[in-house]
């Protein structure tokens, strides 16, 4: 009897065991279904052997083949990766500089500078998109340059909305830095630059990796701002998919989307692995 009583006591969730409450579990599982079902069906139907893509008609890879042979799509894809790569490198550099500037120094007008740095994060994308469009047209930014220089306007716009995010992440990392390490290095005769190279940058590295990951994803993901800064010859992957979707819903779009999802997941996984490794090294 006593044994039974104890078992029943164990099975009843404690008052704080919210994760074991059926009601919460139902909402959690429901949210997951809501979030994943559309993406998973999109992936499944990229293998569907049917032009109209409504009912399942058997497995095929022909829409992947079609997507791979779609020159416009491949070009857009290469453009997107090029923009994301360049934008990530410059965003990480500018973001790290911003973080060090705001973390390290007291200077006049610091509060307005800090506020302005947060602006690209908070203002609606559409406002930034139209501002960029008006700016590039008004200053007469050349639109007939050869590849990859014709991607300049889009890349500049991407850097502008990415590096404040990088700065935020790197600054959060710097907040836990022990200034005594830096002082020790300087006492031992290291110059400002040596301290930077040997002490501060290694400490910032996990933040830089996380920032780079975010910058790359933001760039690859962006539709609205790119939509306003791209021309007819500078189509990125989201813009291309958008025009295909407007035209019709085909398995080819599903196939192209699946490839992009796969790339993002692999990239995220690698970056997270790198990050966990570097944070373990730090300890």
């Amino acid at each position: 009897m006593a044994l039974f009583a104890r078992r029943r006591l164990e099975e009843r969730p404690g008052p704080l065991a919210y994760h074991r409450r059926l009601f919460l579990r139902l909402i959690f599982v429901g949210s997951l279904v809501f979030l994943y079902a559309p993406i998973i069906t999109l992936i499944i139907f990229s293998f569907n052997n049917s032009r109209r893509n409504i009912v399942w008609r058997g497995f095929t890879l022909k829409y992947y083949e079609k997507a791979l042979n779609n020159d416009g799509l491949i070009e857009a894809f290469v453009n997107s990766l090029t923009i994301a790569g360049v934008s990530t490198v410059i965003s990480v550099i500018l973001g790290a500089m911003t973080a060090i500037l705001l973390w390290r120094f007291r200077f006049p007008f610091k509060a307005p500078v800090e506020g302005a740095m947060a602006l690209p994060i908070v203002i609606p994308e559409i406002c930034m998109g139209v501002a960029m469009m008006a700016f590039f047209i008004r200053i007469g930014w050349p639109t007939d340059l050869i590849w990859p220089f014709n991607l300049g306007a889009i890349t500049i716009a991407h850097i502008t909305f990415s590096y404040p995010f990088v700065a935020m992440i790197v600054r959060a990392r710097l907040a836990s830095f022990n200034r005594e390490e830096e002082e020790a290095a300087k006492d031992l005769g290291a110059s400002e630059w040596q301290t930077m190279r040997d002490i501060i940058i290694p400490f910032m590295t996990p933040g830089l990796v996380a920032g780079a990951l975010l910058a790359f994803t933001l760039s690859l993901d962006d539709f609205v701002i790119t939509f306003f800064t791209s021309g007819p010859d500078t189509v990125t992957f989201p813009i291309k998919v958008y025009s295909m979707v407007r035209f019709s819903v085909t398995p080819e779009v599903n196939a192209a989307s699946t490839v992009l999802i796969a790339i993002t997941i692999v990239f995220t996984a690698v970056a997270m692995w790198l990050q966990s490794r570097s944070s373990q090294d730090g300890r």
């Binding site: 069906t41 559409i126 406002c127």
Partner: protein
């Protein structure tokens, strides 16, 4: 923190590129749009700066005012729905055992790493007339009908002669559905961060002192998670207010939001001054929401200090 005078060369080298970049490629374009909003249209892209307020006056005409109000109502509704759904989710994750916690969080965040356009596109196949929701409903309808015939009620056609699919796509419902779908992870993260830091002994104390779970939730958990709630609301409300893609792809002709009107002024109607005025109105609304947030934060800290 050092004064910049201690190492001025280093300060300028590190400070000038990012601040200069912001000034040239962000503040300058914004100022340009701000100026254009006081201008008059001349030709296709030519604008004469006349300091007129006509563009703002036009934005207050009933047709645009309605769209503006609709955008606000839509954003508020999306934020409330996200909050109601995300709170239990965040609560469950923050109280889950240490081992599974990061995985549960990853499950919620993973869709966030998937391209926004692709996620919006994926919803078309779910919502359309020949889409998954209607297929599920049709299946349920068939099953229910079979059950009714089995019960001997088949001849009355209680559920209608044939299945009528719901019109779920290209209307306001689809836009709301798409926005909740896209912004739900935005709401979960700040709530989780707040609930994670929460002092659990307070909840225990409340329960020990006889308050029920419901009362404890509203008088202890919610007030203590207030900072997370405010962050989540802001982080959801602002992008929802300026959303462009969901109304464009999932909405019908009557589901235009403010961002779609702005887009039209710049891309097809070529009325830059009016578009600029609208986008500044949107920006002022954003600033208003942010100011409200810092006001709330100040009020809260003043209350705590008192």
């Amino acid at each position: 923190m050092d004064s910049w005078r201690r190492s001025p060369l280093f300060f300028w080298i590190i400070g000038l590129p990012p601040v200069g970049w912001l000034a040239i490629f962000f503040l300058l374009p914004l100022s340009l749009i701000w100026l254009i909003s006081f201008g008059e249209k001349q030709g296709i892209v030519d604008v004469a700066l006349t300091w007129t307020l006509d563009n703002y006056a036009r934005a207050m005409e009933s047709i645009y005012l309605e769209i503006l109000l609709k955008s606000i109502v839509m954003a508020v509704a999306i934020t409330v729905i996200c909050l109601v759904v995300a709170f239990p989710v965040a609560l469950l994750i923050s109280f889950a055992p240490r081992r599974v916690k990061p995985w549960l969080l990853l499950l919620i965040v993973l869709p966030f790493w998937t391209n926004l356009l692709i996620r919006t596109y994926a919803l078309i196949a779910v919502l359309r007339v020949r889409g998954y929701i209607n297929f599920s409903l049709e299946w349920l309808w068939t099953q229910a009908n079979a059950a009714l015939s089995f019960a001997g009620l088949g001849q009355y056609q209680l559920l209608g002669a044939r299945f009528e699919p719901l019109e779920l796509l290209y209307n306001n419902f689809a836009v709301a559905f798409g926005l909740v779908y896209v912004f739900l992870p935005f709401m979960v993260l700040p709530l989780y961060a707040a609930l994670e830091r929460l002092d659990r002994s307070m909840i225990e104390a409340s329960l020990d002192l006889g308050a029920g779970q419901v009362r404890t939730f509203f008088s202890v958990v919610v007030p203590m998670a207030a900072s997370g709630i405010v962050s989540g609301v802001i982080i959801t409300f602002i992008p929802a207010l300026g959303s462009f893609l969901q109304p464009e792809l999932l909405g019908g002709t009557d589901s235009q939001l403010i961002a779609n009107v702005i887009e039209r002024q710049f891309k097809s109607a070529n009325d830059w001054p009016f578009g600029a005025a609208l986008s500044f109105i949107l920006m002022y609304l954003t600033f208003f929401a942010l100011a409200l947030r810092s006001l709330l934060a100040k009020g809260k800290s003043a209350m705590e200090a008192a």
